[in-house]
């Protein structure tokens, strides 16, 4: 278990990562914030010995994915329009907002691997392990996601 000071530092460092993965999965900032809080509390409670920062981050993402899976099954999920949420974000350029919306318009099975692969920089094997799917499935989904994104972005 971490000291309060160590925990606060780690939580500050990774809470945006956890939120981003949760939002990518749930498409709702309130739910994503709830998951972020739950995951950080799990981190506080765990007595797991982490070998490295990478190990810790990997564990956090795995816990986040599992939390999202559980929440996603609930019929009482909150829904929020992506456009409304995008308006609250500060994008550097309009095309960044376009890509954000295009990714979020994809099915969860495409947008989550995209986020983990491109944003978090994990390999297809690591993404496969985090999502409990075959590596080939991840590769296929990334390929299809890119094709779908191209179509969406060309239409705009």
């Amino acid at each position: 278990m971490f000291s309060n000071e160590a925990f606060a530092q780690i939580a500050e460092k990774y809470m945006d990562t956890v939120f981003r993965v949760a939002y990518g999965w749930l498409k709702n900032p309130d739910d994503a914030n709830d998951v972020t809080q739950d995951v950080l509390v799990e981190l506080y409670k765990t007595d797991k010995a982490f070998e490295s920062d990478a190990h810790l981050k990997n564990w956090l993402i795995r816990v986040t994915v599992n939390r999202c899976k559980m929440l996603f099954r609930s019929p009482w999920r909150r829904h929020e329009d992506i456009d409304d949420y995008a308006e609250t974000l500060s994008f550097e350029q309009p095309r960044d907002e376009g890509l954000f919306k295009a990714v979020m318009a994809l099915d969860k099975k495409y947008r989550v691997p995209l986020l983990l692969f491109y944003y978090e920089g994990y390999s297809t094997a690591e993404v496969a392990s985090m999502l409990s799917v075959a590596e080939k499935t991840v590769s296929t989904r990334l390929y299809r996601a890119r094709a779908k994104l191209r179509t969406i972005l060309e239409e705009e």
Partner: protein, 200 residues
Amino acid sequence: MTEKERFQRAFAPLHASPDTMTEVMKMTERKMKRPALRRAATIGLAAALVLALGSVAYASDLGGIQRTVQLWIKGDQTDAVMTIDQGRYTIDYTDKDGTEHEMGGGGIAIEDDGTERALTEEEMLEHLDAPEVVYEDDGTVMIYYRGQSLDITDRFDENGLCHVLLRDEQDGGKTLFVTIRYNDGYSYNSTKYEDPYGRR
């Protein structure tokens, strides 16, 4: 600009709520005040008895009958010492990493006429032979039964229910229908699936 850089720019504006840390610190303060017994209780149910070996002895220092048994602990067959005393049992064992554990259980049985009595040794052994559902720290949900283990994290339906059919070919094809309600108990039956609390 690479695809990776484009993604970085598109998703960089996403941040957790500024209140997140405050909320988390409040929640962890509350958790700290809770007794830390749950984990031990959970581990206590993670055993399934396979075979009671000899060497029965009276443990005068512990005030009960002590015997050496073999248990399935999370899918690993493990030697353990079981002490039975007035309807309760304790089990001491060393796991494959060399860590010593102690767990216990027991309870009462209610007869048809409403009278209560301590569980018999046979009933306790039967309890230890039950499947066990374990919620791991990383959110994974596992079910263990004798030498078998199964990741059921993705198998809960929209009502939070998961149904698993367990079969032990080495025990004459003994079959158990297990119904797990997510984070809310589970039941098993040799003939049909039953909701743990009779809900639908």
